[in-house]
Amino acid sequence: MSNAPRRLSAVPNDAAPDPPVRVLRAAWHGSEAEFLQALQDGGGGAWSIFYDRFAGMIHATVRRQLGRDDSVEDLVQDALHRLVSSVKSVRDPECLPGWVRAVTINTVRSELRRRYVRRILHFDSAALDRAEGDAIDHDGRALLRSVYSVLDQMSPELRIVFVLRYIDEHSLAEVAETCEWSLATTKRKLSRAQQRFAKLAEQLPELRARLEGGERWT
């Protein structure tokens, strides 16, 4: 063995010479309670694994709430900050996924409320000119533009419950847990959200036809 230090790759590498390269982004080998404790102690390793576990879910939750929007990345980062700052409030490691979703939704709610107030005060337009994102493929753009232009006009609470139920495809119980509402309240708000969405969709012929006819978007 030479005296030169051996550089370790951060990813698996099948072609690595002997001795084997270590996988640095490893899974957590302890219990979930130990994992939660490590998060609460501020352990960088545990938080890196936390990112691997939950970043996709956080990103998807924010993206489905906002659609193609320039703020998605910033809100994901904001949610991550909030999660780090509030992790000491978590007592049950089994509650981690639900807690992550609830904090993410709270982050989105804050942003939607800010936008809603600005729109009411006429600081913002009705957000019909939505950012189109970076995708080159334009398929489905019209659908997204129509749906999110309607959602932009809904109150934050109704928008969130609608998206969680129909776009995120969560069960009513999960929506209730995420929004910290009772099941009855969740059902009531979802019903109001459906009515509001349908009413606003009447202004957009393609979307209205879609909802009335029940056809899939083409």
């Binding site: 501020g42 960088g44 890196s48 990112y51 993206r63 910033d74 980062q77 495809e169």
Partner: protein, 442 residues
């Protein structure tokens, strides 16, 4: 209206969103998260009423001169000796916290009753919390320290240096920590230790006798190899001491504490006494921290931005260290003030052009830029200053996007091909392929 129609509509929306923007891990987000988590771990724990009371009592002792007498019991030989010898501090049987700041011309030595010896090399600073028979928690804040840990003791041994943790059974080793560069080095001469933290995630890495571990927080590099020749260069060296610089005396602060738990609290730094004074027992109040930073670290970006504005962002830009400037810029960006974020990042690059955070600032400036041409400039700046940095793949991918948006198709395709070669499983592979495909099918 039929609920199924909403469900069908939602499924189509979900499919469209996921098809064109499936969530991908971002190295930038991961790094920012880890930075924030590290700050959380370093945040001072709630102190009991007893510690300030004891500290106040120690102050009274100091004022009446009794402190000086006590210090002569706890520390010996702090006057300059030629050649320098390590003064010895013997820990008592009570739970104690020893604050150690080695003078510039001599090491500082702490000997525990079980025979374990810690040596803080010149200019090194740290603290050793001893809970006899239970745990010994040592934090190296800067510089180099060695430990010779005796086997067979019931203690749990934990060492911290920045984000790294070293778990010890019985061994002899040396830790070096350069916070400014994010560099960590560990030489294990005997026994075995396990290192976690920083880029060493999960169960971490075992380092055995005769091995050296080097890790860098900034670029995630980890190197494990045999111990180098002691005369070889390249290892972290203690800060150079100017010949005519005043040599501060070593100061050991002994503060009994009843705070339990395995955490490693951030506590007030040791006070450096005047050059010719002997070591003393010194009580320090909790240092005041910038309130904007507290809010920022708690994730309250808007509040942090407001507090920073009240303190004067211009003034902060000229005063804060580079990592705090990055934090301030993030607050401004997340607080909705892109102009303040740009100003902060530009100030960081002006004041610390050679520091690692300068490259990170270039990356963030790219994200904040409105025009593709500006984005291209900043991402190229980042890649030139930190070609193998933690955000290199992200910057490369964003560079391809920016070039594509700017209409410079040949450059976009060139960078896209390079991206696919360098990061075949990267987050921007689909986009890069689509750019390359446009070249193939104009």
């Amino acid at each position: 209206m039929d609920v199924n129609r909403f469900e069908n509509l939602g499924q189509d929306v979900r499919r469209e969103l996921d098809a064109h923007g499936a969530p991908v891990p971002s190295d930038e987000q991961r790094m920012i998260l880890l930075e924030h988590a590290m700050r959380l771990g370093e945040r001072p724990a709630q102190r009991s009423w007893l510690a300030p009371a004891v500290a106040a009592f120690a102050s009274i002792l100091l004022m009446t001169g009794i402190g000086w007498a006590l210090s002569s019991v706890w520390t010996e030989g702090t006057a300059p000796i030629n050649p320098p010898q390590a003064p010895i501090t013997t820990a008592t049987a009570e739970r104690t916290t020893h604050w150690i700041e080695a003078r510039s011309d001599a090491p500082e030595r702490l000997e525990l009753p079980d025979g374990t010896v810690f040596t803080f090399e010149p200019t090194a600073r740290g603290r050793v919390e001893v809970e006899p028979g239970v745990a010994v928690r040592t934090t190296l804040e800067r510089g180099e320290m060695s430990a010779s840990v005796r086997k067979g003791q019931p203690n749990t041994w934990r060492f911290w240096a920045g984000p790294f943790q070293v778990q010890v059974i019985g061994t002899e080793f040396t830790i070096r920590w350069d916070a400014a560069e994010g560099r960590f080095e560990l030489d294990v001469r005997e026994g075995e230790v396990r290192v976690t933290g920083g880029p060493l995630v999960g169960a971490g890495m075992a380092v055995t006798g005769g091995q050296q571990l080097r890790a860098n927080v900034d670029d995630g590099a980890v190197e494990l190899g045999p111990l180098p020749d002691p005369s070889a260069s390249g290892a972290l060296q203690p800060e150079p001491v100017e010949a005519d610089a005043p040599a501060p005396s070593a100061v050991v602060v002994v503060v009994p504490t009843e705070r339990p738990g395995p955490d490693h609290p951030q506590s007030p730094p040791a006070h450096v006494a005047a050059p010719t004074e002997p070591a003393r027992v010194v009580a320090q109040p909790e240092p005041a921290r910038p309130t904007w930073k507290e809010a920022a670290e708690a994730g309250r970006h808007t509040e942090a931005l407001g507090l920073a504005r009240a303190a004067g962002i211009d003034r902060l830009i000229e005063r804060l260290p580079p990592n705090d400037l990055l934090l301030l810029a993030d607050c401004a960006r997340l607080g909705g003030d892109a102009a303040a974020a740009r100003m902060t990042l530009t100030g960081l690059r002006r004041r610390f052009p050679k520091a690692d955070p300068a490259a990170a600032a270039a990356f963030r400036l790219g994200r904040l830029s409105g025009s593709p041409a500006e984005q291209v400039r900043w991402y190229r700046t980042y890649l030139s200053e930190s070609p193998s940095g933690a955000l290199a793949s992200e910057a490369n991918g964003r560079l391809v996007q920016a070039l594509h948006r700017s209409g410079d198709a040949p450059a976009a395709q060139r960078e896209a091909r390079l991206y696919l070669e360098r990061y075949p499983s990267g987050a921007y592979v689909a986009f890069a392929r689509s750019v390359v495909a446009q070249d193939a099918n104009p």
